[in-house]
């Protein structure tokens, strides 16, 4: 028995070179004829990290060797997460022209936006070694553990982008709600503030119950030289499993309707 959703995703993976090419094209198009190209994003991210680092480092009285690496890793990851989620909302809406003309597997459009944002993320990654050098913090072997963590984050982002792409194609108010929600999430999650600053009680709600915290932790903690808790790994893997299960179910029922909604 063939499943529409899995079929589409498999066909899309077969055409990953197309998704890759279109993703590159998007980045190139955005920065064509600019000398620094996508490194402009790196610069603005760097400036933002520097500013927040100085101001909030003072307010929280956190030592810079601790706070700055924590902040940079968090901000760079958050940059990827928030742009994939925002662009996921218009993943299908933005590809309307292509979807209505050519029978390309729809998941290609999601892969395209994932790839585009991964390229930008890779550019932002250049900030990390600079920060680590500047504050004199060594990178430990545990940092390697952030790679499987990152893969898990990407797997999670992929289903989020797909499911948002589907629902937003139908309900056009959702992108606005999502972008509001993202802002709230940014402050609720320890990116700008360190979890150690929280009183015990609040920590339970803002950390344990916040899936985003766990997703960040499995990548950020190893980079900073700690091991992420087993709980974080469990939550992140569980989220990927349940999320993909739910997304495939929804995609199976509505994949054929997407072209009609555009």
């Amino acid at each position: 028995m063939k499943n529409i959703a899995l079929d589409d995703i498999a066909n899309a993976l077969e055409r990953s070179s197309l998704a890759g090419m279109l993703g590159w094209q998007d980045v190139r198009q955005r920065y064509r004829r600019s000398a620094l190209g996508p490194f402009w994003l790196t610069i603005s991210m760097g400036v933002m990290i520097g500013t927040i680092g100085i101001v909030f480092g003072q307010i929280f009285k956190s030592p810079m060797t601790e706070f700055l690496p924590f902040l940079s890793a968090g901000m760079i990851l958050w940059g990827l997460i928030s742009s994939v989620v925002t662009e996921g909302c218009v993943g299908f809406i933005g590809a309307e022209n292509i979807i209505k003309q050519l029978p390309i597997p729809l998941f290609v459009h999601i892969m395209r936006l994932m790839w585009r944002n991964l390229i930008i993320f890779a550019h932002n990654l250049a900030i990390l070694p600079i920060v680590f050098l500047a504050v004199g913090k060594p990178l430990e072997v545990t940092a390697l553990l952030s790679i499987p963590g990152f893969i898990l984050v990407v797997l999670n982002l992929a289903w989020v982008a797909l499911i948002l792409g589907i629902i937003c194609a139908r309900y056009r108010d959702l992108p606005q709600i999502v972008s509001n929600f993202l802002q709230v999430l940014f402050y609720l999650t320890p990116i700008m503030w360190m979890p150690t600053l929280l009183p015990q009680r609040a920590g339970i709600y803002l950390l344990s119950l916040n899936p985003l915290y766990h997703l960040l932790e499995i990548v950020r903690a190893p980079l900073l030289g700690h091991l992420p808790s087993a709980q974080s790994w469990l939550v992140a893997s569980g989220l990927a499993l349940i999320g993909w299960g739910m997304t495939v179910a929804i995609y199976t029922s509505y994949k054929r309707r997407i072209a009609y909604w555009l």
Partner: protein
């Protein structure tokens, strides 16, 4: 071998931003376009194709006739797999190629060469396949050194020549077209015409939506007249053209 078999196919477009109440009062056939109606939940729908049953076999060269909004483009999109039918079954054997919007996906900031890869990729060609054909495409488009210039420096004729040269490289078993493609100046048009004819000959099934009487008479061996999403007539080109253009 190529075969298209569609049975009792309906295509309904839900309209989410129309005011259902006021439209519900006027469930009559409009002069142009599909039929307006409401589905079981009271939403406004446009029925673009209604209970279409059709079989196309190897060798069929089908001309689709009909006024604006008769459902020609929707039928082409249904066959290309863009739309799944709202009800009914569509059974298609054979690889499908569409020459509907040959400029789709072209990026004005990218060079001609980059655009060949983008456009080719969208049409389902792999990179090695495009690399194999790229010299042929560049030569056919007669762009010369302009191929490495950004597309925004092209004239609209050059733009179309490039799009045409890439899009006609594929040789699908089923070819869908919206009007005959005619590009370029006198000399180029001659070459393009030859290429189109070659493409049409090598395809197993051709389906072309058109308003041209000559095209149907010269190219097609079967004509279908659509109106309000229904088949009015399906016969040899001569008799359909005579009734349609009376």
């Amino acid at each position: 071998m190529a075969l298209i078999h569609i049975e009792n196919v309906c295509v309904d477009f839900p309209i989410y931003n129309a005011n259902g109440r006021s439209l519900k009062k006027r469930l009559f056939q409009v002069a142009t376009g599909g039929q307006l109606g409401a589905d079981s939940q009271g939403r406004v729908i446009v029925r673009a194709l209604e209970n279409l049953t059709l079989t196309l076999q190897d060798g069929d060269r089908v001309g689709l006739l009909g006024h604006n909004g008769a459902g020609k483009s929707t039928l082409l999109r249904l066959l290309s797999g863009v739309y799944a039918p709202t009800s009914g079954t569509v059974d298609i054997k054979g690889e499908i190629g569409s020459l509907i919007d040959i400029s789709l996906g072209i990026d004005p900031e990218a060079t001609g060469r980059e655009n060949i890869y983008i456009r080719g990729g969208l049409l389902g060609m792999s990179k090695p396949e495009i690399r194999e054909h790229i010299d042929e495409i560049i030569e056919f488009s007669e762009l010369g050194d302009f191929i490495d210039m950004p597309l925004r420096t092209y004239s609209s004729g050059m733009h179309l020549r490039l799009a045409f040269a890439v899009s006609t490289i594929v040789r699908p078993e089923i070819l869908l077209m919206d009007e005959w493609l005619s590009v370029g100046d006198e000399a180029f048009r001659h070459k393009a015409e030859a290429r189109m004819s070659n493409m049409v000959q090598s395809t197993n099934i051709l389906i072309i939506a058109t308003h041209s009487r000559e095209l149907v008479l010269h190219t097609c061996n079967r004509a279908i007249w659509l109106e309000h999403g229904k088949i009015i007539m399906d016969a040899d080109p001569e008799s359909v053209v005579n009734s349609y253009f009376h």
